[in-house]
Symmetry: C2
Subunit: 133 residues, 2 copies
DNA sequence: GTGTTTGCAAACGTTTTGCACAGGT
DNA sequence: ACCTGTGCAAAACGTTTGCAAACAC
């Protein structure tokens, strides 16, 4: 069985503190303030273990680093193409995508991921200013 | 202006030959049969250039290598979680996802990507056999 | 001739792994 | 005492980049 180590506990605690979606090295820096000698490898190993247990969610986004989230409830994301900011989209939990079509391809569907991308409020404003010049 | 080099031409020709979604190194192996001294770096540089030109599509899938496609029309994908196989889903081009909700978050949405994942026909059969044992 | 493109190899950033030791049970 | 988890460093992985030579225009 899995043992309750200080490293594992602090990683989970630090992840639960934030609503951002930290990467493994973000978390490494956060945890290091409380467990100075922790190694990045340990952070990776624990995040992997915790995500397999279902205690954290792991998001492997297209074209960027893996991000982690202590919020386990299902939700989709928007990424800003300009600054890289990542936001939750809780309202779109039920996305209305039709599953039947995929049955036609002979696949047994186990899940789906929707990623939206665009401009966040700040970058949008900045871009629109430039457009109007 | 861009020059018409043998390497670039052969990369595009080989990519157009297949309906799979080769990675850069898959393509490197394919092209190498015709241009033995080509380097992997050249394949990457040309795929990048061709995708910026819109001649090929680049798919940066979550948690896996970037794949390329000479079919430019918009379509979604299913990935097999067991064997990694990747299929097109042309029928689901209009996915029915509601865009209005995202406007509420203040984002200007420029695109979305839907990835389905599950078991392909072959792996599905194999898994169901094991389940029934 | 000029400037782009190439092959090669080294560098890169993220993630994984091998190892001997520390520490939870 | 066992055997999982750790720190460290090196390796692995896909991708990018610096360079001098080669080539398209």
């Amino acid at each position: 069985m899995h043992r309750r180590t200080k490293q594992r506990r602090v990683i989970l605690e630090e992840l639960a503190k934030v609503t951002t979606h930290p990467t493994a090295s973000d978390l490494y820096e956060m945890v290091r303030r409380r467990v100075p000698l922790i190694s990045l490898g340990t952070v990776y190993r624990n995040l992997d273990l915790l995500s397999r247990e279902g205690a954290v969610q792991k998001f492997e986004f297209a074209g960027s680093k893996t991000r982690f989230d202590a919020t386990v409830a299902r939700h989709n994301h928007v990424r800003c193409m300009e600054c890289g900011r990542l936001d939750d989209l809780t309202e779109l939990a039920d996305d209305g995508v039709d599953d039947r079509a995929i049955e036609l391809n002979g696949y047994r569907i186990l899940g789906r991921r929707i990623e939206f991308f665009g401009l966040c409020p700040q970058c949008r404003e900045r871009c629109e200013e430039i457009e109007n010049t």
